[in-house]
Amino acid sequence: MAASSRRTRSLADEVREVARGWRWGRRPVVPRSAERVTPPAKVWSFPTDWARTEAGRAARDVILSGVMKPIVWNETSPEVFGLDNLDHLTPPVMFVSNHSSHLDATLILTTLPPKWRNKTATAAAKDYFFDVWWRSAFTALVYGGFPIERGGGERATEKARELVRDGWNLIVFPEGTRTQDGWVQRFRHGSARLAIDLGMPVVPIAIVGAYAAMPKGRSWPKKGRPPIRVRYGPALEPEEGETHQAFSLRMQHAIAELFDEDRTSWWEARRRAAAGQTPRISGPQGPKWLRTWEGSRPVRRRGTPPVWR
């Protein structure tokens, strides 16, 4: 009898069925035909303040230094340049970087000097990093992450303002999401507006090679310890009367100059910048495949290749 056989199903079977059907541990999704009529999920922010307490910071330091850094440094070959640009700065500052991989936040946090890292929080998209409890907890603990709504607006940056007032540095990816093709996308103006409003310096960072190492869609770096270079640039200060659009463009140019410096040399990049000839970082015009093709070119390694005898 079917009815009686149903009754003998174990609790584990039932739990498994519910877990699979409601995607436990994964982002909940709405059936396509119901998307039009389903109101957005209730706004609720995962609490993250606990991750910025003394205990939370200590735990983060252990995780970043003891777990994340060894993994990333073992699986890739990162190099760091320009940390001296931080020497004369007084926190809080905003670190802005191109966003090409899930490695980005880890790379920045593990390359920042400890005194900076201990007081740095990462803005993370609420709809992605704070959708399920375990991802929210991981983001808050490991990256000092706090949720930011991609839609923009005053509420989106409410938490960021609160943190800056408390003296926290912020890591922000103004593109809003990881690049699909390896090239830098249009900057959203929220970060520039925030920096102007709070009068905080912005430190541009160029991360070269992270896309080639672990592009969107991968959860582990490619084999062969691909090279990655993290370049910190000189801080930008919002100028008197500067609009957030203009400041956002300046941030973008600063990162483009760091890319140019990585490709050639500091001297050549400076000369091209002075002449207004810094190459664009938004990639070539053309079909999507071409942009992806160009963007995914392997990053050249520095130095003499090893010779095996």
């Binding site: 009754r7 059907g21 035909s33």
Partner: protein, 522 residues
């Protein structure tokens, strides 16, 4: 309405005193009831307003006077489903009406449960429906069950132009004013179905509760003239009552879709909107339900009372009131559906109108599936002509010996010979309807009338005539075979079996009830 895709979680399906999560094939259309409407906050205020500002009638207060004969008829145990959590809306209406009657100096006041050929209600059931104050004031002398077999209690009023005899409660017919207090759960209820059927005996009821009428009611959830022969007949009878000078003041109420209380609240929701708490509630309820001994499980289901909200109260002339009631009801229940499908899937819940505080026997499963739920449509059925109906229910071979004595004999004696409604009607109906033992049990015990199982079978006549196949998932094979159904051990098997009728890749619609919904099929 939802179309099942790979993102859709398994869907809740009722199966008698149980429920399950069932995966449906991709592309299945799921017809959900609309969101529950907000209930009226001040229900008493709404009732007072309705009876003071009635539709096409003088205010109730002006119809009441000293020395008059006043009768109040009340919908019986079959409404609402499940029973409403106290205070029942009938109680609230009655208290307002009786208060007016008391103030107007009315002394001759009788209350009658309009149970027609249904079983008598017990004292506790009546008390729950009318409230303690009304019960204490009137029971048992002036608050009674209607007795459709009382030779001195019925009055012949006349015949309709189609020759239908109209015979109703004598007390109601002789009253200066008859107030009817209704709960309109589905479009089939209310209107002229209240007095001409609720207060009528077999002589009158047989004119619309017959196979011919059922076959010409497409559907009986669509009471518009010309759509439902049963409602057309009731309407004609209502006209006879009005022409005979019987003054009826109708008070109709509608409820929202808050059917299941906690911890069954998840059953009111669409599955993809289940919170973690809902999922946990499902797991706990499912496991407890599966592990509980059948008797305990039955007791738990009997105790479910719905936290309904009242969405509308209308009073006055029957036609005008019912038009408003239907509009409100449609707002709560009507869902537009584009086109028909090859297969209709139904989960039969644990309760129907005729097994409140009782057992849903196989005949009542037939009444609920091919009867009521198949007919939850307007315009045309959800399933195409010759399509298949797949129901989920264990169909246990069980009967309540007090409530359904004639059902036992009907199942053993009648259905073992034929399932054809026409043959059953012509060969056995009269015998059961006039059987002195069944009449005795109906009048003195708590038994449904001897003819009642026949009507249950007739409710499904249209579906049996229309469908190509009826398959019951998880049904008792013997009980299913007795009724002409086929039993399947799983939904997958049922679809395989239906394939013989509707092909290998049929279109499927799942009517996700309860809460109730009516498909407006275009």
């Amino acid at each position: 309405m939802l179309e099942v895709d790979e993102r859709t979680p398994p869907l809740l399906v009722h199966e008698g005193e149980g429920f399950r999560l069932q995966k449906f094939p991709l592309g299945t259309r799921v017809i959900y009831p609309p969101d529950s409407l907000p209930g009226i906050r001040d229900v008493r205020g709404a009732i007072r307003h309705a009876i003071a500002n009635p539709l096409d009638s003088e205010p109730l207060a002006e119809l009441l006077r000293p020395g008059m004969k006043l009768t109040i008829a009340i919908d019986d145990i079959s409404l609402p489903l499940p029973p409403m959590r106290s205070p029942d809306v009938r109680q609230l209406v009655l208290e307002e009406v009786i208060e007016l009657a008391a103030r107007a100096g009315v002394e001759d006041l009788k209350l009658t449960m309009a149970n027609s050929l249904h079983r008598r209600m017990t004292a506790d059931e009546i008390k729950h429906a009318v409230g303690e104050r009304v019960f204490r004031s009137f029971y048992p002398n002036d608050l009674t069950n209607f007795d459709a077999e009382d030779p001195n209690g019925l009055a012949f009023i006349g015949t309709t132009e189609k020759g239908e005899e109209v015979e109703i409660s004598k007390r109601a017919a002789e009253s200066d004013l008859l107030v009817y207090v209704n709960i309109n759960l589905v479009p089939m209820d209310g209107g002229h179905k209240s007095v001409p059927i609720g207060l009528a005996g077999y002589r009158s009821v047989r004119h619309h509760h017959n196979v011919h009428t059922m076959l010409h009611s497409k559907s009986y959830m669509d009471p518009r003239p010309g759509r439902s022969a049963i409602h057309d007949s009731a309407r004609r009878m209502g006209t006879v009552l009005r022409d005979a000078g019987i003054r009826i003041f109708t008070i109709e109420t509608t409820l929202n879709n808050d059917v299941f209380p906690d911890p069954f609240g998840f059953m009111n929701k669409r599955e993809w909107e289940w919170s973690v708490k809902d999922q946990a509630s499902y797991l706990a309820a499912k496991k407890a339900n599966d592990l509980a001994p059948p008797k305990l499980r039955h007791q738990v289901y009997l105790r479910i009372q719905s936290p309904y909200g009242v969405t509308g109260v209308n009073a006055g002339d029957t036609d005008a009131v019912h038009e408003r009631t239907l509009a409100r009801l449609h707002e709560q229940q009507l869902v537009e559906v584009e086109g028909q499908s090859d297969v209709l899937v139904l989960g039969i819940p644990y309760i129907g109108p005729y097994n409140v505080n009782s057992i849903m026997n196989p005949i009542l499963v037939h009444c609920m599936g091919p009867g009521y739920l198949f007919n939850m449509y307007r315009n045309k059925p959800v399933v195409r002509p010759g399509g298949a109906l797949i129901m989920f229910h264990p169909v246990p071979w069980e009967f309540h010996q007090v409530h359904h004595p004639s059902y036992v004999d009907f199942f053993e004696e009648v259905l073992s010979e034929t399932t054809d409604p026409m043959t059953i009607e012509s060969k056995w109906e009269q015998q059961y309807a006039t059987d002195p033992w069944y009449i005795h049990l109906y009048r003195t015990s708590y038994a449904y009338h001897g003819v009642h199982p026949f009507y249950m079978w007739y409710w499904g006549a249209h579906a049996l005539d229309y469908l190509g196949d009826v398959i019951v998932v998880g049904g008792d094979p013997k009980a299913c075979a007795r009724m002409g159904y086929r039993a399947a051990s799983s939904f997958r098997d049922a679809l395989e079996m239906a394939g013989e009728t509707v092909g290998r890749s049929p279109s499927i619609s799942y009517l996700h009830v309860p809460p109730l919904t009516v498909a407006d099929v275009r």
